[in-house]
Protein backbone atom coordinates (compact mmCIF):
# COMPACT_ATOMS: atom_id res chain seq x y z
CA UNK A 1 0.00 0.00 0.00
CA UNK A 2 2.57 2.50 1.09
CA UNK A 3 4.70 1.73 -1.95
CA UNK A 4 1.91 2.17 -4.41
CA UNK A 5 1.12 5.52 -2.86
CA UNK A 6 4.70 6.62 -3.03
CA UNK A 7 4.65 5.88 -6.73
CA UNK A 8 1.31 7.57 -7.06
CA UNK A 9 2.74 10.82 -5.93
CA UNK A 10 5.05 11.09 -8.89
CA UNK A 11 2.67 9.53 -11.36
CA UNK A 12 0.72 12.65 -12.09
CA UNK A 13 -1.10 11.37 -15.12
CA UNK A 14 -3.01 8.87 -12.97
CA UNK A 15 -4.28 11.60 -10.69
CA UNK A 16 -7.64 12.23 -12.30
CA UNK A 17 -8.76 8.62 -12.25
CA UNK A 18 -11.77 8.03 -10.03
CA UNK A 19 -10.85 5.96 -7.02
CA UNK A 20 -12.89 3.17 -5.55
CA UNK A 21 -14.69 4.53 -2.49
CA UNK A 22 -12.58 2.74 0.08
CA UNK A 23 -9.34 4.10 -1.33
CA UNK A 24 -10.30 7.69 -0.60
CA UNK A 25 -9.08 9.19 2.66
CA UNK A 26 -11.85 11.75 2.57
CA UNK A 27 -15.04 11.19 0.63
CA UNK A 28 -17.76 13.80 0.21
CA UNK A 29 -20.90 11.99 -0.83
CA UNK A 30 -23.60 14.38 -1.98
CA UNK A 31 -22.95 16.74 0.91
CA UNK A 32 -25.45 19.53 1.44
CA UNK A 33 -25.28 21.89 4.35
CA UNK A 34 -27.74 24.58 5.40
CA UNK A 35 -27.27 27.08 8.19
CA UNK A 36 -30.51 27.60 10.09
CA UNK A 37 -31.09 30.96 11.70
CA UNK A 38 -31.95 30.30 15.35
CA UNK A 39 -34.39 33.22 15.51
CA UNK A 40 -36.19 33.22 12.18
CA UNK A 41 -35.68 29.58 11.22
CA UNK A 42 -34.50 30.83 7.85
CA UNK A 43 -32.26 28.44 5.95
CA UNK A 44 -29.11 29.40 4.14
CA UNK A 45 -27.65 26.76 1.85
CA UNK A 46 -23.87 26.95 2.03
CA UNK A 47 -22.98 23.63 0.36
CA UNK A 48 -25.11 22.03 -2.30
CA UNK A 49 -24.72 18.32 -3.03
CA UNK A 50 -20.95 18.39 -3.15
CA UNK A 51 -19.23 15.16 -4.16
CA UNK A 52 -15.45 14.78 -4.20
CA UNK A 53 -12.71 12.52 -2.94
CA UNK A 54 -9.32 13.15 -1.47
CA UNK A 55 -6.61 10.48 -1.41
CA UNK A 56 -4.56 9.48 1.53
CA UNK A 57 -1.42 11.62 1.82
CA UNK A 58 -2.72 13.94 -0.86
CA UNK A 59 -2.11 17.67 -0.72
CA UNK A 60 -5.51 18.94 -1.72
CA UNK A 61 -6.11 22.64 -2.24
CA UNK A 62 -9.47 24.38 -2.33
CA UNK A 63 -10.06 27.68 -4.08
CA UNK A 64 -13.33 29.54 -4.21
CA UNK A 65 -14.88 32.99 -4.04
CA UNK A 66 -15.26 34.59 -0.63
CA UNK A 67 -18.32 33.37 1.25
CA UNK A 68 -18.86 30.35 -0.99
CA UNK A 69 -18.60 27.80 1.81
CA UNK A 70 -14.94 26.76 2.11
CA UNK A 71 -14.75 27.15 5.88
CA UNK A 72 -18.08 25.40 6.18
CA UNK A 73 -16.69 22.46 4.23
CA UNK A 74 -13.69 22.16 6.57
CA UNK A 75 -15.98 22.39 9.61
CA UNK A 76 -17.98 19.50 8.18
CA UNK A 77 -14.88 17.34 7.79
CA UNK A 78 -13.76 18.32 11.28
CA UNK A 79 -17.14 17.17 12.58
CA UNK A 80 -18.02 20.54 14.05
CA UNK A 81 -21.05 20.71 11.75
CA UNK A 82 -23.22 17.87 10.48
CA UNK A 83 -24.33 17.64 6.84
CA UNK A 84 -27.99 18.43 6.24
CA UNK A 85 -27.91 15.76 3.52
CA UNK A 86 -25.29 13.32 2.32
CA UNK A 87 -22.32 12.09 4.27
CA UNK A 88 -18.61 12.52 4.71
CA UNK A 89 -16.30 9.55 5.18
CA UNK A 90 -12.82 9.91 6.58
CA UNK A 91 -10.70 6.78 6.44
CA UNK A 92 -13.79 4.81 5.48
CA UNK A 93 -15.82 5.93 8.49
CA UNK A 94 -18.71 8.35 8.53
CA UNK A 95 -17.79 11.54 10.38
CA UNK A 96 -19.93 11.76 13.48
CA UNK A 97 -18.15 14.44 15.46
CA UNK A 98 -14.82 16.15 16.07
CA UNK A 99 -11.70 14.14 16.83
CA UNK A 100 -7.94 14.53 17.15
CA UNK A 101 -7.40 12.60 13.89
CA UNK A 102 -8.64 15.65 11.97
CA UNK A 103 -6.81 18.81 12.98
CA UNK A 104 -8.17 22.16 11.92
CA UNK A 105 -6.22 25.39 11.59
CA UNK A 106 -8.98 27.95 12.02
CA UNK A 107 -9.23 30.93 9.73
CA UNK A 108 -9.54 33.10 12.86
CA UNK A 109 -6.68 31.21 14.61
CA UNK A 110 -8.79 30.39 17.70
CA UNK A 111 -5.86 30.49 20.12
CA UNK A 112 -6.64 30.54 23.83
CA UNK A 113 -5.88 34.13 24.90
CA UNK A 114 -5.01 33.09 28.48
CA UNK A 115 -2.42 30.53 27.40
CA UNK A 116 1.12 31.27 26.31
CA UNK A 117 2.38 30.33 22.88
CA UNK A 118 3.95 27.18 24.33
CA UNK A 119 0.80 26.20 26.21
CA UNK A 120 -1.32 26.76 23.13
CA UNK A 121 0.93 24.62 20.98
CA UNK A 122 0.99 21.87 23.63
CA UNK A 123 -2.75 21.95 24.23
CA UNK A 124 -3.60 18.82 22.24
CA UNK A 125 -0.91 16.85 24.04
CA UNK A 126 -2.12 18.13 27.40
CA UNK A 127 -5.63 16.96 26.57
CA UNK A 128 -4.17 13.56 25.76
CA UNK A 129 -2.43 13.44 29.13
CA UNK A 130 1.16 13.69 27.88
CA UNK A 131 3.63 14.68 30.61
CA UNK A 132 4.72 18.28 30.92
CA UNK A 133 8.36 17.67 29.94
CA UNK A 134 7.37 15.79 26.83
CA UNK A 135 4.80 18.37 25.75
CA UNK A 136 7.28 21.18 26.29
CA UNK A 137 9.80 19.39 24.12
CA UNK A 138 7.29 18.79 21.33
CA UNK A 139 5.98 22.35 21.60
CA UNK A 140 9.49 23.75 21.37
CA UNK A 141 10.12 21.74 18.20
CA UNK A 142 7.02 23.02 16.44
CA UNK A 143 7.48 26.58 17.66
CA UNK A 144 10.95 26.43 16.12
CA UNK A 145 9.48 25.01 12.94
CA UNK A 146 7.20 28.01 12.45
CA UNK A 147 10.04 30.37 13.30
CA UNK A 148 8.80 31.62 16.66
CA UNK A 149 11.75 30.74 18.91
CA UNK A 150 11.88 33.09 21.85
CA UNK A 151 8.14 33.72 21.82
CA UNK A 152 7.25 30.65 23.91
CA UNK A 153 6.13 32.68 26.89
CA UNK A 154 4.24 35.37 25.04
CA UNK A 155 0.49 35.56 25.05
CA UNK A 156 -1.44 35.65 21.76
CA UNK A 157 -2.41 39.30 22.18
CA UNK A 158 1.29 40.16 22.27
CA UNK A 159 1.80 38.69 18.77
CA UNK A 160 1.06 40.00 15.31
CA UNK A 161 -1.68 38.42 13.23
CA UNK A 162 0.81 36.46 11.16
CA UNK A 163 2.57 35.17 14.27
CA UNK A 164 -0.72 34.04 15.77
CA UNK A 165 -1.52 32.22 12.59
CA UNK A 166 1.82 30.40 12.78
CA UNK A 167 1.08 29.41 16.38
CA UNK A 168 -2.23 27.98 15.19
CA UNK A 169 -0.41 25.94 12.53
CA UNK A 170 2.12 24.70 15.09
CA UNK A 171 -0.65 23.76 17.50
CA UNK A 172 -2.39 21.59 14.92
CA UNK A 173 0.86 20.01 13.69
CA UNK A 174 2.00 19.23 17.24
CA UNK A 175 -1.12 17.17 17.75
CA UNK A 176 -0.05 14.90 14.84
CA UNK A 177 -3.39 14.47 13.08
CA UNK A 178 -3.97 12.15 10.08
CA UNK A 179 -5.82 14.86 8.26
CA UNK A 180 -4.82 18.48 8.46
CA UNK A 181 -7.57 20.93 7.53
CA UNK A 182 -6.09 24.36 6.94
CA UNK A 183 -8.29 27.41 6.47
CA UNK A 184 -6.20 30.07 4.74
CA UNK A 185 -3.44 29.40 7.25
CA UNK A 186 -0.88 31.76 5.75
CA UNK A 187 -3.21 34.59 4.76
CA UNK A 188 -1.87 37.00 7.39
CA UNK A 189 1.79 36.08 6.95
CA UNK A 190 4.21 38.17 4.91
CA UNK A 191 5.35 36.79 1.55
CA UNK A 192 8.81 35.77 2.69
CA UNK A 193 7.68 33.93 5.81
CA UNK A 194 4.89 32.38 3.80
CA UNK A 195 7.36 30.88 1.33
CA UNK A 196 9.34 29.39 4.23
CA UNK A 197 6.21 27.99 5.85
CA UNK A 198 4.95 26.54 2.58
CA UNK A 199 8.22 24.71 2.12
CA UNK A 200 8.26 23.47 5.73
CA UNK A 201 4.70 22.27 5.40
CA UNK A 202 5.36 20.35 2.19
CA UNK A 203 8.46 18.84 3.79
CA UNK A 204 6.51 17.60 6.82
CA UNK A 205 3.74 16.40 4.57
CA UNK A 206 6.15 14.52 2.27
CA UNK A 207 7.79 12.77 5.23
CA UNK A 208 4.50 11.61 6.71
CA UNK A 209 1.19 10.13 5.68
CA UNK A 210 -0.53 13.38 6.43
CA UNK A 211 -3.47 14.29 4.21
CA UNK A 212 -3.75 18.04 3.83
CA UNK A 213 -6.87 19.95 2.82
CA UNK A 214 -5.72 23.48 2.25
CA UNK A 215 -8.11 26.38 1.64
CA UNK A 216 -6.58 29.45 0.09
CA UNK A 217 -7.45 32.56 -1.88
CA UNK A 218 -4.06 32.60 -3.50
CA UNK A 219 -3.88 30.85 -6.89
CA UNK A 220 -0.08 30.68 -6.87
CA UNK A 221 -0.10 29.14 -3.42
CA UNK A 222 -2.59 26.49 -4.52
CA UNK A 223 -0.43 25.56 -7.51
CA UNK A 224 2.77 25.55 -5.49
CA UNK A 225 1.35 23.31 -2.76
CA UNK A 226 -1.36 21.19 -4.31
CA UNK A 227 -1.46 17.78 -5.90
CA UNK A 228 -4.88 18.84 -7.09
CA UNK A 229 -6.85 22.03 -6.78
CA UNK A 230 -10.60 22.01 -6.31
CA UNK A 231 -12.40 25.13 -7.46
CA UNK A 232 -15.70 25.76 -5.78
CA UNK A 233 -18.67 27.63 -7.26
CA UNK A 234 -20.12 30.66 -5.47
CA UNK A 235 -22.56 29.81 -2.69
CA UNK A 236 -24.20 27.36 -2.53
CA UNK A 237 -20.90 25.60 -3.12
CA UNK A 238 -20.55 22.84 -5.64
CA UNK A 239 -17.47 21.49 -7.35
CA UNK A 240 -16.70 23.67 -10.32
CA UNK A 241 -13.64 21.69 -11.38
CA UNK A 242 -10.71 19.72 -10.01
CA UNK A 243 -7.41 20.58 -11.61
CA UNK A 244 -4.37 18.32 -11.22
CA UNK A 245 -1.07 20.12 -10.78
CA UNK A 246 1.29 18.21 -13.03
CA UNK A 247 4.52 19.80 -11.92
CA UNK A 248 6.82 17.35 -10.12
CA UNK A 249 7.55 18.22 -6.51
CA UNK A 250 11.30 18.44 -7.11
CA UNK A 251 10.73 21.26 -9.56
CA UNK A 252 8.50 23.27 -7.28
CA UNK A 253 10.63 25.96 -5.80
CA UNK A 254 9.58 29.55 -6.09
CA UNK A 255 12.77 30.37 -7.94
CA UNK A 256 11.99 27.73 -10.57
CA UNK A 257 8.25 28.20 -10.81
CA UNK A 258 8.38 31.81 -11.90
CA UNK A 259 10.02 30.71 -15.13
CA UNK A 260 8.10 27.46 -15.57
CA UNK A 261 5.69 27.55 -18.55
CA UNK A 262 3.50 24.87 -16.93
CA UNK A 263 3.12 27.11 -13.90
CA UNK A 264 2.21 30.07 -16.08
CA UNK A 265 -0.35 27.96 -17.95
CA UNK A 266 -1.99 26.69 -14.76
CA UNK A 267 -2.00 30.12 -13.24
CA UNK A 268 -3.68 31.54 -16.33
CA UNK A 269 -6.24 28.78 -16.50
CA UNK A 270 -7.18 28.82 -12.81
CA UNK A 271 -7.07 32.60 -12.68
CA UNK A 272 -9.55 32.83 -15.58
CA UNK A 273 -11.92 30.41 -13.88
CA UNK A 274 -11.71 32.33 -10.61
CA UNK A 275 -12.38 35.64 -12.30
CA UNK A 276 -15.44 34.27 -14.06
CA UNK A 277 -16.74 32.72 -10.85
CA UNK A 278 -15.97 35.47 -8.45
CA UNK A 279 -16.91 39.08 -8.45
CA UNK A 280 -16.71 39.12 -12.25
CA UNK A 281 -18.02 42.63 -12.79
CA UNK A 282 -15.48 44.20 -10.46
CA UNK A 283 -12.47 42.47 -11.94
CA UNK A 284 -13.68 43.18 -15.47
CA UNK A 285 -13.89 46.84 -14.60
CA UNK A 286 -10.41 46.69 -13.19
CA UNK A 287 -9.19 45.19 -16.39
CA UNK A 288 -11.35 47.25 -18.72
Amino acid sequence: MADSRAIHRHDHTAREAVLPEDAAKILFDGVTFEYIDAQTGERLRAIDGLTAQIRENEFFCILGPSGCGKSTLLYLVAGLLKPTQGKILVGGRVVKGPGADRGLVFQEYALLPWRTVRENVALGLKIRGVSREERDAVARRFIHLVGLDGFERKYPHELSGGMRQRVAVARTLANSPDVMLMDEPFAAVDAQTRAVLQEELTRIWAQSRLTVVFVTHNVDEAIFLGDRVLIMTPRPARVHSVIPIDIPREERSWAHLDRDPRFAALRGRIGDVMRNLGDGSASNHDRG
Binding site: G79, A100, A110, W114, L123, T172, N175
Partner: protein, 274 residues
Protein backbone atom coordinates in the same frame (compact mmCIF):
# COMPACT_ATOMS: atom_id res chain seq x y z
CA UNK B 1 11.62 77.58 35.18
CA UNK B 2 10.19 78.89 38.38
CA UNK B 3 10.57 77.30 41.79
CA UNK B 4 6.91 76.35 41.79
CA UNK B 5 7.13 74.49 38.53
CA UNK B 6 10.29 72.74 39.75
CA UNK B 7 8.44 71.58 42.85
CA UNK B 8 5.52 70.47 40.75
CA UNK B 9 7.88 68.63 38.41
CA UNK B 10 9.59 66.81 41.29
CA UNK B 11 6.23 65.90 42.76
CA UNK B 12 4.95 64.60 39.44
CA UNK B 13 8.14 62.58 38.89
CA UNK B 14 7.92 61.17 42.41
CA UNK B 15 4.36 60.07 41.78
CA UNK B 16 5.21 58.63 38.39
CA UNK B 17 7.94 56.51 39.96
CA UNK B 18 5.60 55.26 42.68
CA UNK B 19 2.30 54.38 41.05
CA UNK B 20 0.78 53.25 44.34
CA UNK B 21 1.47 56.64 45.88
CA UNK B 22 -0.18 58.30 42.93
CA UNK B 23 -3.13 55.96 43.29
CA UNK B 24 -3.35 56.79 46.99
CA UNK B 25 -3.44 60.51 46.24
CA UNK B 26 -6.03 60.00 43.55
CA UNK B 27 -8.22 57.97 45.87
CA UNK B 28 -7.80 60.17 48.95
CA UNK B 29 -8.17 63.46 47.11
CA UNK B 30 -11.98 63.73 47.33
CA UNK B 31 -11.88 63.07 51.09
CA UNK B 32 -10.08 66.32 51.77
CA UNK B 33 -12.95 68.69 50.89
CA UNK B 34 -15.42 66.30 52.52
CA UNK B 35 -13.60 66.38 55.86
CA UNK B 36 -13.09 70.13 55.56
CA UNK B 37 -16.83 70.64 55.04
CA UNK B 38 -17.54 68.43 58.02
CA UNK B 39 -15.18 70.50 60.16
CA UNK B 40 -16.88 73.71 59.01
CA UNK B 41 -20.34 72.36 59.84
CA UNK B 42 -19.10 71.44 63.30
CA UNK B 43 -17.56 74.89 63.81
CA UNK B 44 -20.82 76.55 62.75
CA UNK B 45 -22.53 74.61 65.56
CA UNK B 46 -25.53 73.74 63.46
CA UNK B 47 -26.00 70.58 65.46
CA UNK B 48 -25.01 69.81 69.03
CA UNK B 49 -21.61 68.14 69.40
CA UNK B 50 -23.28 64.92 70.49
CA UNK B 51 -25.05 64.69 67.13
CA UNK B 52 -21.94 65.35 65.07
CA UNK B 53 -18.52 65.38 66.72
CA UNK B 54 -15.54 66.98 65.02
CA UNK B 55 -13.44 64.90 62.62
CA UNK B 56 -10.64 64.89 65.17
CA UNK B 57 -12.89 63.02 67.60
CA UNK B 58 -12.85 59.98 65.34
CA UNK B 59 -9.16 59.01 65.74
CA UNK B 60 -9.52 59.60 69.49
CA UNK B 61 -12.52 57.30 69.64
CA UNK B 62 -10.64 54.82 67.48
CA UNK B 63 -7.72 54.72 69.91
CA UNK B 64 -10.13 54.31 72.79
CA UNK B 65 -12.02 51.46 71.13
CA UNK B 66 -8.80 49.65 70.21
CA UNK B 67 -7.51 49.71 73.77
CA UNK B 68 -10.71 49.49 75.78
CA UNK B 69 -13.13 47.51 73.65
CA UNK B 70 -11.11 45.05 71.55
CA UNK B 71 -11.97 46.71 68.27
CA UNK B 72 -9.45 44.54 66.35
CA UNK B 73 -11.10 41.37 67.66
CA UNK B 74 -14.51 42.59 66.60
CA UNK B 75 -13.25 43.60 63.18
CA UNK B 76 -11.56 40.22 62.71
CA UNK B 77 -14.83 38.49 63.49
CA UNK B 78 -16.56 40.58 60.86
CA UNK B 79 -13.81 39.90 58.35
CA UNK B 80 -14.13 36.19 59.05
CA UNK B 81 -17.88 36.25 58.42
CA UNK B 82 -17.70 38.30 55.25
CA UNK B 83 -14.83 36.18 53.89
CA UNK B 84 -16.50 32.85 54.65
CA UNK B 85 -19.79 34.04 53.22
CA UNK B 86 -18.06 35.56 50.22
CA UNK B 87 -16.18 32.38 49.40
CA UNK B 88 -19.31 30.26 49.81
CA UNK B 89 -21.22 32.61 47.51
CA UNK B 90 -18.34 32.54 45.04
CA UNK B 91 -18.22 28.73 44.94
CA UNK B 92 -21.95 28.32 44.60
CA UNK B 93 -22.23 31.13 42.08
CA UNK B 94 -19.53 29.67 39.83
CA UNK B 95 -20.99 26.17 40.10
CA UNK B 96 -24.54 27.13 39.26
CA UNK B 97 -23.47 29.80 36.79
CA UNK B 98 -21.38 27.22 34.92
CA UNK B 99 -24.25 24.73 34.90
CA UNK B 100 -26.77 27.25 33.62
CA UNK B 101 -24.24 28.76 31.21
CA UNK B 102 -23.48 25.43 29.56
CA UNK B 103 -26.95 23.91 29.42
CA UNK B 104 -29.74 25.49 27.46
CA UNK B 105 -32.27 23.30 29.29
CA UNK B 106 -31.07 24.33 32.75
CA UNK B 107 -30.92 27.91 31.58
CA UNK B 108 -34.56 27.83 30.63
CA UNK B 109 -35.58 25.87 33.72
CA UNK B 110 -33.75 27.95 36.33
CA UNK B 111 -33.48 31.46 34.98
CA UNK B 112 -36.91 32.57 36.25
CA UNK B 113 -36.39 31.06 39.68
CA UNK B 114 -33.01 32.68 40.10
CA UNK B 115 -34.28 36.10 39.02
CA UNK B 116 -37.08 35.68 41.56
CA UNK B 117 -34.72 34.71 44.39
CA UNK B 118 -32.52 37.68 43.62
CA UNK B 119 -35.54 39.96 43.91
CA UNK B 120 -36.44 38.53 47.32
CA UNK B 121 -32.98 39.45 48.56
CA UNK B 122 -30.92 38.33 51.52
CA UNK B 123 -32.70 40.59 54.02
CA UNK B 124 -36.01 39.02 53.07
CA UNK B 125 -34.56 35.66 53.95
CA UNK B 126 -32.90 36.73 57.17
CA UNK B 127 -35.86 36.00 59.50
CA UNK B 128 -36.16 32.55 58.00
CA UNK B 129 -32.41 31.92 58.28
CA UNK B 130 -32.62 32.91 61.94
CA UNK B 131 -35.42 30.44 62.61
CA UNK B 132 -33.61 27.68 60.74
CA UNK B 133 -30.09 28.33 61.89
CA UNK B 134 -30.27 30.56 65.01
CA UNK B 135 -28.50 33.68 66.18
CA UNK B 136 -25.01 32.63 65.16
CA UNK B 137 -22.17 33.07 62.69
CA UNK B 138 -23.66 30.49 60.37
CA UNK B 139 -26.72 32.63 59.78
CA UNK B 140 -24.62 35.69 59.04
CA UNK B 141 -22.36 33.74 56.70
CA UNK B 142 -25.39 32.33 54.91
CA UNK B 143 -26.79 35.81 54.46
CA UNK B 144 -23.53 37.12 53.04
CA UNK B 145 -23.26 34.08 50.76
CA UNK B 146 -26.75 34.77 49.48
CA UNK B 147 -25.71 38.33 48.64
CA UNK B 148 -22.47 37.41 46.90
CA UNK B 149 -24.03 34.51 45.02
CA UNK B 150 -26.06 36.52 42.52
CA UNK B 151 -23.43 38.79 40.98
CA UNK B 152 -21.05 35.82 40.75
CA UNK B 153 -23.76 33.64 39.23
CA UNK B 154 -24.69 36.18 36.58
CA UNK B 155 -21.04 36.99 35.90
CA UNK B 156 -20.18 33.34 35.38
CA UNK B 157 -23.17 32.69 33.17
CA UNK B 158 -22.72 35.77 31.02
CA UNK B 159 -18.96 35.20 30.88
CA UNK B 160 -19.39 31.65 29.62
CA UNK B 161 -21.98 32.66 27.05
CA UNK B 162 -19.63 35.37 25.75
CA UNK B 163 -16.70 33.02 25.07
CA UNK B 164 -16.26 32.74 21.26
CA UNK B 165 -17.48 29.39 19.97
CA UNK B 166 -14.38 28.82 17.88
CA UNK B 167 -12.31 28.51 21.06
CA UNK B 168 -14.45 25.61 22.22
CA UNK B 169 -14.32 24.20 18.70
CA UNK B 170 -10.53 24.36 18.66
CA UNK B 171 -10.35 22.25 21.81
CA UNK B 172 -12.79 19.75 20.28
CA UNK B 173 -10.69 19.39 17.12
CA UNK B 174 -7.62 18.78 19.29
CA UNK B 175 -9.38 15.76 20.74
CA UNK B 176 -10.89 17.35 23.84
CA UNK B 177 -14.29 16.52 25.27
CA UNK B 178 -16.87 18.51 27.20
CA UNK B 179 -14.72 18.43 30.32
CA UNK B 180 -11.79 20.00 28.49
CA UNK B 181 -14.03 22.59 26.90
CA UNK B 182 -15.24 23.57 30.36
CA UNK B 183 -11.84 23.72 32.07
CA UNK B 184 -9.70 24.95 29.19
CA UNK B 185 -12.10 27.33 27.53
CA UNK B 186 -15.34 28.25 29.27
CA UNK B 187 -14.20 28.80 32.85
CA UNK B 188 -10.94 30.60 31.99
CA UNK B 189 -12.82 32.61 29.39
CA UNK B 190 -15.40 33.59 31.98
CA UNK B 191 -12.80 34.39 34.64
CA UNK B 192 -12.72 38.16 34.16
CA UNK B 193 -16.53 38.24 34.39
CA UNK B 194 -16.44 35.96 37.43
CA UNK B 195 -13.96 38.22 39.20
CA UNK B 196 -15.98 41.30 38.31
CA UNK B 197 -19.08 39.57 39.69
CA UNK B 198 -17.21 38.66 42.87
CA UNK B 199 -15.97 42.22 43.26
CA UNK B 200 -19.46 43.61 42.96
CA UNK B 201 -20.79 40.87 45.24
CA UNK B 202 -18.24 41.55 47.97
CA UNK B 203 -19.10 45.24 47.85
CA UNK B 204 -22.68 44.30 48.65
CA UNK B 205 -21.46 41.61 51.05
CA UNK B 206 -19.78 44.22 53.27
CA UNK B 207 -23.10 45.99 53.68
CA UNK B 208 -24.89 42.75 54.34
CA UNK B 209 -22.49 41.60 57.05
CA UNK B 210 -22.76 44.91 58.93
CA UNK B 211 -26.53 44.81 58.75
CA UNK B 212 -26.81 41.15 59.73
CA UNK B 213 -24.48 41.76 62.65
CA UNK B 214 -26.60 44.67 63.84
CA UNK B 215 -29.63 42.43 63.83
CA UNK B 216 -28.38 39.18 65.26
CA UNK B 217 -24.76 39.13 66.48
CA UNK B 218 -23.19 39.76 69.87
CA UNK B 219 -19.78 40.66 68.50
CA UNK B 220 -18.50 42.38 65.39
CA UNK B 221 -18.14 45.75 63.75
CA UNK B 222 -21.86 46.03 63.04
CA UNK B 223 -22.67 45.17 66.65
CA UNK B 224 -20.26 47.78 67.92
CA UNK B 225 -21.87 50.43 65.75
CA UNK B 226 -25.36 49.44 66.76
CA UNK B 227 -24.52 49.32 70.48
CA UNK B 228 -22.90 52.73 70.24
CA UNK B 229 -26.29 54.08 69.29
CA UNK B 230 -27.72 53.20 72.71
CA UNK B 231 -24.86 55.10 74.41
CA UNK B 232 -25.34 57.96 72.01
CA UNK B 233 -21.71 57.60 70.92
CA UNK B 234 -21.83 59.07 67.45
CA UNK B 235 -18.01 59.04 67.39
CA UNK B 236 -18.00 55.25 67.81
CA UNK B 237 -20.49 54.89 64.99
CA UNK B 238 -18.28 57.06 62.83
CA UNK B 239 -15.26 54.89 63.69
CA UNK B 240 -17.24 51.86 62.52
CA UNK B 241 -18.15 53.58 59.28
CA UNK B 242 -14.57 54.61 58.64
CA UNK B 243 -13.16 51.16 59.46
CA UNK B 244 -15.69 49.33 57.29
CA UNK B 245 -15.14 51.74 54.42
CA UNK B 246 -11.37 51.69 54.63
CA UNK B 247 -11.23 47.91 54.91
CA UNK B 248 -13.37 47.53 51.82
CA UNK B 249 -11.45 50.14 49.89
CA UNK B 250 -8.14 48.49 50.75
CA UNK B 251 -9.38 45.00 49.82
CA UNK B 252 -10.86 46.28 46.62
CA UNK B 253 -7.98 48.47 45.49
CA UNK B 254 -5.17 46.19 46.53
CA UNK B 255 -6.63 42.74 45.90
CA UNK B 256 -9.77 42.59 43.80
CA UNK B 257 -9.20 45.42 41.35
CA UNK B 258 -5.61 44.41 40.49
CA UNK B 259 -6.81 40.82 40.07
CA UNK B 260 -9.54 41.96 37.74
CA UNK B 261 -7.27 44.21 35.69
CA UNK B 262 -4.64 41.51 35.47
CA UNK B 263 -6.99 38.87 34.10
CA UNK B 264 -8.63 41.28 31.71
CA UNK B 265 -5.21 42.38 30.49
CA UNK B 266 -3.88 38.86 30.11
CA UNK B 267 -7.06 37.90 28.33
CA UNK B 268 -6.13 40.46 25.73
CA UNK B 269 -8.70 43.14 26.37
CA UNK B 270 -7.46 46.67 26.79
CA UNK B 271 -8.11 48.03 30.28
CA UNK B 272 -9.27 51.57 30.73
CA UNK B 273 -7.18 53.48 33.27
CA UNK B 274 -9.20 53.91 36.43
Amino acid sequence: MTAASAVYYRLAMGLAERPWLAALFRNLGPFVPLIAAWQIVVLLRIWPRSFLPAPAAVPQAFAFLVTESDLPGQVLRTIYRVTAGGLAGLGLGVLLGAMVGTSRGLHEALRGLIDYLQAVGEIGWLPLFIIWSGFNDRTIILTVAYTVFFPVFFGTMAGILAVPRTLANSVLTLGGGRRHVLWEVLLPGALPAIITGFRVGMGFGWRTVILAEMLIAQLGLGVMMFEARSFFRVDWILVGMVVAGVLWLVTDRFVLLPLESKTIQRWGVQVVER
